[in-house]
């Protein structure tokens, strides 16, 4: 090792030098007063720092532990993911309803805009919206037109079936989730 690097003295002093770097530095130390001074200064600093002690009038570990324990919540600690999962579980119905309403709103608004622009897709989109279909059906029922009701029911049937499957799947998923959570909580007690 030619010359000296005082930062190596710090690494050596902290026990962070390994292998050949350690051997080289030890050999260098034999003939380098600057690095020896640096090292000595670090040892003195450590010695001096030891005078920054804790005051004697501190709480005993037993008393300290008792104080902390008295402030602990009664329930066992919950992992962060479990709290998130619980939040998700609690908001699932609202999320599902929100998603459905949002989807239908986008569907209806897009259809209205397309229809106003005179594009054929708009009418199709509007016709396919179950919100619109239900509104038409309600209108027909209120008008007392049996034929119109039957026609609308006919066009609605395939759509209702698809929706039924869709909602049943969502309901199954939700109740499945509810049941698994309940089982988990039971096992957890």
């Amino acid at each position: 090792m030619s010359g000296h690097d005082v930062s190596l003295a710090g690494l050596y002093y902290d026990g962070e030098l390994r292998g050949h770097r350690l051997h080289h530095f030890e050999a260098h130390l034999e003939r380098c007063p600057t690095c020896r001074t640096e090292l000595e200064s670090l040892y003195r600093l450590r010695q001096l720092l030891q005078s920054f002690t804790l005051p004697p009038d501190r709480t005993s570990p037993e008393r300290f532990a008792a104080r902390v324990r008295s402030r602990l919540p009664k329930s066992r600690p919950q992992p962060a993911w479990k709290s998130m999962l619980r939040g998700l579980w609690q908001t699932t119905p609202a999320l599902l309803f929100g998603a459905l309403t949002f989807g239908q709103a986008v569907f209806t608004v897009s259809g209205t805009v397309l229809m106003m622009l005179g594009l054929a897709g708009g009418a199709t989109l509007l016709r396919d919206s179950w919100l619109v279909r239900l509104a038409l059906l309600a209108g027909a029922v209120l008008d007392g037109s049996a034929r119109a009701v039957l026609q609308l029911l006919g066009t609605l049937s395939w759509y209702v079936l698809l929706n039924l499957i869709f909602f049943s799947a969502i309901a199954l998923l939700y109740w499945g989730w509810l049941a698994s959570w309940w089982a988990y909580r039971r096992a957890d007690l």
């Binding site: 930062s7 710090g10 690494l11 902290d14 026990g15 962070e16 007063p33 020896r36 001074t37 000595e40 200064s41 670090l42 003195r44 600093l45 450590r46 001096l48 720092l49 005078s51 920054f52 002690t53 804790l54 005051p55 004697p56 009038d57 501190r58 709480t59 570990p61 037993e62 300290f64 532990a65 008792a66 104080r67 902390v68 324990r69 402030r71 602990l72 919540p73 329930s75 066992r76 600690p77 919950q78 992992p79 962060a80 479990k82």
Partner: protein, 187 residues
Amino acid sequence: MSTATTMQDELTLIAQAQRGDQESFGELIRRNQEGVVSLVYRMCGDMALAEDAAQEAFLRAWQRLPGYQPRAPFRNWLYRIAANVALDVLRRERTTVNVDELPLMASEDSPDEAFEMVERREYVRRAVLTLPAASRVVLILREYEGLSYKEIADVLEIPVGTVMSRLNYARSKLREALAPYLQVEVK
């Protein structure tokens, strides 16, 4: 008791505490209280504040205990929480930890020795407490808690290079501040 037995014992206590056993957690507190309190005390310089902050650190540890993985030593995991609490305290209580307002520490030695010791202790304490918090915590973990650079980097979630630069900075500042006590003879 061997180190391996102690570690196994600690792992058992941690597992029990993770299942909600407050008695086991109490034992973990008793074993680690000294280290956590001394870290926080040396960070903020006031024992009442340090004990409150250390309690807060253990309460946070209890909440986060289910997420603890025994890959890192439990003590270091606690130090991470305690260091964060100490930094929060320092941000919140800037005026409280003004070094000029800190109470003097009592001594049990003879008057002359006591005077010299108290003077030196106060000098060192003030020098440490005037370091920037980021460098101070690195210095404390190295000099007082004996952690390696890698462990300090893990505790503070910073690169090892940053640990080294902060440590060098802290030491150079301390050597300036404590120059009268650091007269070195070249051999």
